[in-house]
C-alpha cells in the first residue's frame, strides 16, 4: 500500500514563551500528521499546548525548532498570508473573529476579493453559495456580527474560511462557547464538509465526547507533549495512557449516568 503523503505535518516542534521573566515550554517535540480528508481531533486541558500547536501549523508563529510541512513541502518561515490559500482557521470566539464595524457579508467579500479572482456579481453569487453551504440563508450575513447568535456566527466564520477553497481547516475550540444544540450543528457541518469537499480538518477541543463523535483519529496532549494518539474508536474504548483514562472518566453523558 502506498503511504499517503500527509497534507499537513509537524515534526519535532519546540515552542517556548517568555511570560513575566519565566520561560515556559508550550510544545515539547510534538509530531503530528494530518492525512488528506481526515478529521483529526486534538484533546487536552487548558495549557496543554493545543492552541499553540495550531498557531505553528498555520504559520502565525515560528517554532524554535522542528518543521511544518504542507503537502510535503516545508513552510517554516512563511507567514499566514503565504499559506492562507491552503490552510484556513476558525476561532473559538466566533463573534470576536468578525470586524464589529463591518457587516458579515463584507467580511466574507473581503476574503473572496483577496483570495480569488472573482469580482462583482460572480463574487456575490459565490458568497451566497458559501453561506448556503453552511446551512444559513444569505440575508443573515447582511447583519452586523453582534446581531447574530454564537452558532450562526461560527457557521459564517466557516463560510468565510471556505472562500479560499482551502485544503486544511484548523478549528480552535470552535464549539467551546456554544450551546449543546449549536455544538451539534457545527460538528455535523464539519462532517458534511469533509464528505462533500474532501476537506482535511484539525479539530481542537477539550470535550472528549464531541471529539470522539466527529474525528477519525485523536491526539491527546498534556503539558506540551503528545501523550497518546490513534484511531478515535481505539483511544476511547481502550486508552493506553493514564491521562487519557483520567480524561475519559471525567466525561459526563446522560447515557452512562442514567445507567449507574
Amino acid at each position: 500500500m502506498i503511504e499517503q503523503v500527509p497534507i499537513l505535518e509537524v515534526r519535532g516542534i519546540f515552542k517556548k514563551y517568555k511570560r513575566s521573566g519565566i520561560v515556559k515550554t508550550a510544545l515539547n517535540g510534538v509530531s503530528i500528521q494530518l492525512r488528506p480528508s481526515e478529521i483529526l481531533g486534538v484533546v487536552g486541558e487548558s495549557g496543554c499546548g493545543k492552541s499553540t500547536l495550531l498557531r505553528q501549523m498555520s504559520c502565525q508563529e515560528r517554532p524554535e525548532s522542528g518543521d511544518v510541512l504542507l503537502c510535503g513541502e516545508s513552510v517554516i518561515g512563511k507567514s499566514t498570508p503565504d499559506v492562507c490559500q491552503s490552510i484556513q482557521m476558525v476561532f473559538q470566539d466566533a463573534l470576536a473573529s468578525f470586524d464589529p464595524r463591518m457587516r458579515v457579508s463584507a467580511s466574507i467579500d473581503e476574503a473572496l476579493k483577496h483570495l480569488t479572482e472573482l469580482r462583482g456579481d460572480a463574487l456575490t453569487l459565490r458568497r451566497e453559495e458559501l453561506i448556503r453551504m453552511v446551512g444559513l440563508s444569505p440575508d443573515l450575513a447582511e447583519r452586523y456580527p453582534v446581531r447574530l447568535s454564537g452558532g450562526q456566527c461560527q457557521r459564517l466564520a466557516v463560510a468565510r474560511a471556505l472562500a479560499a477553497q482551502p485544503k486544511v481547516l484548523l478549528c480552535d475550540e470552535v464549539t467551546s462557547a456554544l450551546d449543546v444544540s449549536a455544538q451539534a450543528q457545527i460538528v455535523r457541518l464539519l462532517a458534511q464538509l469533509r464528505a462533500e469537499l474532501g476537506l482535511s480538518i484539525v479539530f481542537v477541543s477539550h470535550d472528549l465526547a464531541l471529539v470522539g463523535s466527529l474525528c477519525d483519529r485523536i491526539v491527546v496532549m498534556r503539558d506540551g507533549y503528545v501523550v497518546e494518539q490513534g484511531a478515535a474508536s481505539e483511544v476511547l474504548s481502550s486508552p493506553k495512557s493514564d491521562y487519557t483514562k483520567q480524561l475519559l472518566a471525567s466525561v459526563y453523558t446522560t447515557k452512562n449516568s442514567a445507567e449507574t
Binding site: 450551546d179 444544540s181 460538528v187 477539550h206 480524561l247 449516568s257
Partner: protein
Amino acid sequence: MSDTLLKVENLDISYGDGLVAADVSFSLKKGELLAVVGESGCGKTSLLRAVLGLPDSGVMVESGKIEFDGANVLHMARRERSALLGEKVGMIFQDPGAAFNPIRSYKKQFAEMLKSHGRFKGEKSYNEILDCFQRLNLPDSVRILKSCPYEMSGGMNQRIAIAAAMLLKPSLLLLDEPTSALDTTTQKTVVEELMRLRALTGITMLMVTHNLGIAAVMADKIGVMYAGRLVEYGAALEVLSHPIHPYTRSLIAAIPTLGCTLPEGIDGQPPLYGAEAVGCSFIKRCPYASEKCLEKDCSLTVSVGDHYAACGEGQA
C-alpha cells in the same frame, strides 16, 4: 414544619421590557437538588437572579410567588429580604473569579464576609474556615488562606468559592453554571465536591446548567426550560430516560456520547421573547409541529405520575 424549602409559583420575570420567563413553577424539598437546563437565552439565569433577589441585577418579578421556608419573599421589605437571603442563601457563579476581589488575600475577604454578618470571632473563625477547607478536601488550606485569587487556577477558585458560600451555613445553595468555565478534570473534581457537600450537610441546591450530563449525575429533579417557559419537569432519571416533550428529546439527542456517532442538531434558533408568545415557541424547530401548536396552552398539562410536560408529542 413543611418539607419544602423553596416554592416558586407562576413566576413571570422581566428586565423592564418583555418577559424573559413566564409561568415558572417548581418546588424544592429540603436536601434536594433541582437542575434547570436549557439553551442560552432560555431564562434560566434570570430565574436564579429572581430567586436570589439581588437588587442590582435588574431583574423584576412581574407576577407570581416565591416562598422560602414558608415565608413569602416577594412581600418582604428589601432589608428583611436581604437579611434572610444573605444568611440562608448562598450563590456560586459561573466565573470563578467573579465572587472575589482578585488582589486581596482570601483571609481578609473571608473575615470581611463573616464580619458583615456579625459572625466574626477572630482566631476561632479562622480555625473554622480551615476546618471547612479540610472537610472539602482542599489541599494546603493554610497556604490558600494567605493567597490571593489571581494566584489560583479557575478550578481552585471555584472550590474556594464553594467553601466560602458554605461558611455561613446556608440552607439553599444557588449555582449558576458552576462548571462551564472549567477544564474537564477540574469539572469532575468540583462535581464530586458538590456531591460530597450534599452528603455531608444535606444542603438544598438549585443549579442552572446547560450540561445535561452533569445534571444527570447530580440532580434529583430536572426542569427543562425553552424560550422562557418550563417545558418539562420531573425526576432526573425519568426525564432523561423517558422524555415527554419534543424539545427535551431533541436536547438529549444533541449531546455527544462516547459512542463515536454524530450528535443530532436542532435546526434554527430559540426565539428572543418566546415567553410572551401565544402558542408553543418551539414550533419552528419541532419535528412534530402541527397547526394546533399555534394556539397551544403551554403550561405543564401532560403528566405521567410526577413527571410533567407542556406537550406529549415527544414520548417514545
